[in-house]
């Protein structure tokens, strides 16, 4: 194998693959990355047998071939290079990396031992979506995925396709977030799957702020995300496949409160400022107390600490319905608000001890359901 590739592509590909590599695998080859030079493409791949990624970059290949190398040493070496391109040559089971007057020889493993990353056959149903929209959607719900092993089905993000909309849902049983994004093409039929949190994080990392489109392939046991940028390459530049979480996602629609009895419309930044101020005085459970008062047209925010003192402040707001008192974990509340881009926040409460519904203004795109603390 002999190939010449731009340093930036090489660096990007290796670091993407390195993140996916298994950390302590039973099979040593899994902590390495595979590089394949074929036609005009250099492909860098890695897998931990749950997630697999391929990164493809244009390269000038003098001789096709493949090699398996440990990613850490290679990525550290490549990042110290000063020239903008590198030549990779396989010489008797060692990989020579040459760039300007830098040269290194790396030990390699047999590429025959590297796992075959399963790709979609091509006859699966697919949906196309803007990379930006997908990344934004996944990023806005990823923070609320459950950590517990006891309920594997909520340890991932629910992708639910219907027509030209994709709903992304996550919950840790204390709060729930739902983000709606639109897709470029309509789903052939209603379809949903649960993507493990790790795969979702890697997807966000790999795509970053790239412009382009992602084609999602559905199969019963795995999902594949193929990213391609319009332009020079016909093939998708980044492919990520992941196993899916088996099981059924809870019927989350049932927990979204529908009969709102008290509703407050607030300025988001004011609310964030008040929450932060109150958090100074809140106790071990992060509790901050709210009084929604329609007569005073205000939301009072209170927190009390036996050692420090208390915070009593009031926020101007449009409040409709019954007067209500309720406590929330301020950290959970802030994390939800952080995912809202609007200036206005609609805050609704249904029955006693039931969850609150928080939305960015009148927008239907995002919703956040948060359970209160026991009074």
């Amino acid at each position: 194998m002999k190939t010449t590739v731009l340093k930036d592509f090489l660096k990007e590909g290796i670091s993407m693959a390195e993140r996916v590599c298994a950390k302590n695998p039973s099979l040593p080859v899994l902590s390495n990355i595979l590089m394949v030079a074929e036609k005009n493409i250099l492909q860098i791949s890695a897998t931990d047998l749950e997630i697999g990624v391929h990164y493809k970059a244009l390269a000038k290949n003098d001789k096709d071939g493949s090699v398996v190398v440990p990613p850490r040493a290679l990525s550290q070496f490549v990042s110290s290079l000063t020239s903008n391109q590198a030549v990779l040559t396989l010489k008797e089971k060692q990989l020579e990396v040459q760039s300007g007057n830098f040269k290194a020889l790396l030990k390699t493993l047999d590429p025959e031992d590297f796992p075959i990353i399963p790709s979609p056959k091509g006859d699966e149903p697919t949906v196309e979506i803007d990379a930006g929209a997908l990344v934004e959607g996944v990023a806005s719900v990823i923070g609320f995925v459950g950590q517990t092993q006891a309920r594997p089905e909520i340890s991932g993000i629910l992708f639910s396709f219907s027509q030209k909309t994709l709903k992304l849902v996550s919950t840790d049983s204390f709060r729930l977030a739902e983000k709606t994004v639109s897709t470029r093409t309509a789903a052939p039929k209603e379809h949903s799957f649960i993507l493990p949190a790790k795969a979702a994080r890697e997807l966000v990392n790999a795509l970053g702020e790239r412009q382009g489109k992602v084609k999602i392939y559905f199969s019963p046991t795995q999902a594949s995300f193929f990213y391609s940028q319009q332009g020079e390459m016909k093939e998708p530049q980044i492919q990520l496949v992941s196993r899916l979480i088996e099981g059924e996602y809870p019927k989350y629609q049932d927990v979204i409160p529908s009969n709102i009895k008290t509703k407050a419309i607030l300025n988001k930044n004011d609310l964030i400022a008040h929450l932060k101020a109150a958090s100074v005085f809140s106790g071990r459970t992060n509790d901050v107390h709210f009084i929604l008062n329609p007569q005073k047209k205000a939301v009072e925010v209170r927190a009390q600490s036996q050692d420090l003192g208390e915070d009593v402040s009031s926020l101007e707001a449009k409040v409709e319905g019954e007067k209500r008192e309720v406590s929330f974990n301020w950290r959970f509340f802030l994390e939800g608000l952080a995912q809202m881009k609007s200036e206005r926040v609609d805050f609704g409460l249904a029955n006693e001890e039931g969850p609150a519904l928080v939305r960015p203004g009148a927008s239907e795109e995002f919703l956040y359901v948060l359970m209160p603390l026991k009074l």
Binding site: S26, L27, I117, D172, S173, P220, T221, E246, P250, L373
Partner: protein, 450 residues
């Protein structure tokens, strides 16, 4: 050769031809799913294993299989979706968050309190629960008009809650406009208590009285709670007058619930009373098979047979036994043999019998009939003592397989023929008198639960 043996033999040969790390990575949790004609379908845990076996080891595996069984013409690999893992006890994240309320348990419907897992479809019907099942189905088809109230009773772990919840779910589905609610008696009591404390009795009453179907589970717990009984009495009357369906369950018939007000008892008895007794062998077998299938646990018939013949009284225990075997299967990736199953289930199967001693039986029988223990053992021939004594003798014979001479000896040095006569008499009476069967069930329960 069965397909399990065939695969085991294949693995045994494969391990010498590939490295240990490869063997562990690629062949873990694989098994032969089906073998038909010359085609063998191997189930693999994920797509990575599938690709690997197809592309790298296929020739090797095929050769070995072919050597072992020359009918084999083709090997295919498939990724099977595993049945959902058990996850009933979802514990809240951390102790520091005790004050954080959780979103309502997601599979339980908030307004009806029904768990959608319980349906008629996964309820196994046998002679022991036929009547209860039929009555519940009839009620489900036209709530409020046939059997009202419906009272179902039976021992613990025999499927009362399942039946009740299935009825609730079915009615909720068929009659979308009907308000259905399932409440455990304990919850009802808590509701009454907090309504009294917060002076919200009116709200509490209103919340129950505009229901169309009320399902109240485990009413025996209302015993001795007078205020709750009174509330239930009034709620019952209101609903009954309006022709709304009410379903109760309990672990004993209304008559046997102590400290229950007479007016409530007579209301429980006013509709249809159906009992669930212990399942017979065939039904137990059917239940185990269903459960094993739900968990995709392909147990041998001998093992199923062993479980069915040894766990007789409680379906929940059957389920527990299956869970144990499933855990074993998951851990060792091999199906338990009969010997292993015996070992695994020892604690489940043997624990009850260690409580049943001759002393214990006599004690419970005496307590049940409210006589003194020494009277049973003394030679008195008073009528009120003779019957309990005969029952105790019968139980000693049935439960402990004691010999007749031993039984006679035990009861004040009586002849073994007396013991034979007593057992025969009770056996005959059991066939004639429904009341005695019930008494016997209750006594047995007390022996094993005390």
């Amino acid at each position: 050769m069965t397909k399990e043996e065939l695969w085991q033999a294949t693995l045994a040969q494969l391990q010498f031809q590939i490295s240990q790390a490869n063997f562990a990575t690629w062949l873990k949790n694989t098994y032969i799913l089906a073998k038909k004609g010359g085609q063998v379908v191997v189930s693999v845990p994920n797509n990575f294993s599938k690709e690997w076996l197809e592309n790298k080891y296929n020739k090797l595996i095929f050769k070995i299989l072919r050597n072992l069984d020359n009918e084999v013409r083709e090997v295919n690999y498939t990724v099977e979706r595993q049945a959902q893992t058990q996850r009933e006890a979802a514990s809240p994240a951390a102790a520091t968050q005790e004050a954080q309320l959780e979103l309502a348990p997601l599979s339980v419907d908030k307004t009806t309190n029904l768990n959608s897992r319980y349906t008629f479809d996964n309820f196994v019907v046998g002679p022991f629960n036929e009547l209860a099942h039929a009555a519940t189905q009839a009620v489900t088809k036209s709530p409020g008009s046939v059997y009202n109230p419906l009272f179902i009773y039976g021992g613990t772990g025999l499927g009362k809650t399942h039946l009740l919840q299935a009825a609730g779910n079915q009615m909720g589905k068929d009659f979308a406009d009907k308000r259905v609610r399932y409440v455990s008696s304990e919850r009802f009591t808590t509701g009454v208590v907090s309504a009294i404390r917060n002076h919200t009795m009116d709200n509490f009453r209103a919340s129950y009285r505009d229901l169309d179907v009320l399902v109240l589970d485990d009413v025996q717990f209302l015993a001795g709670k007078d205020k709750t009984q009174e509330e239930l009495f009034h709620t019952f009357n209101t609903l009954y007058e309006r022709g709304k369906q009410i379903v109760f369950s309990s672990d004993r018939p209304p008559k046997a619930i102590a400290a229950l007000e007479e007016r409530l008892r007579s209301r429980f008895e006013g509709g249809m009373i159906a009992d669930i007794s212990s399942p017979d062998f065939e039904t137990r077998m059917a239940i185990i098979k269903t459960k094993a299938q739900e968990k995709t646990l392909p147990l041998e018939d001998a093992v199923l047979d062993y479980i069915a013949s040894n766990i007789q009284r409680n379906i929940r225990e059957l389920e527990g036994a299956i869970n144990r075997l499933a855990a074993f299967y998951k851990l060792n990736n091999a199906l338990p043999t009969v010997a292993e199953a015996k070992n695994l289930l020892r604690s489940v199967i043997q624990s009850p019998s260690k409580f049943a001693t001759p002393r214990r039986i006599v004690q419970v029988v005496a307590e049940f009939y409210d006589i003194r223990e020494k009277d049973i053992l003394a030679p008195s021939r008073k009528k009120e003592i003779v019957k309990p004594r005969q029952i105790a003798m019968y139980l000693l014979r049935e439960e402990l397989k004691s010999s007749y001479p031993f039984i006679g000896e035990k009861f004040g040095g009586k002849d073994h023929t007396t013991a034979i006569y007593a057992c025969a008499k009770i056996l005959k009476e059991l066939q004639d008198s429904e009341g005695l069967v019930e008494e016997m069930t209750l006594i047995r329960q007390r022996i094993y639960s005390g």
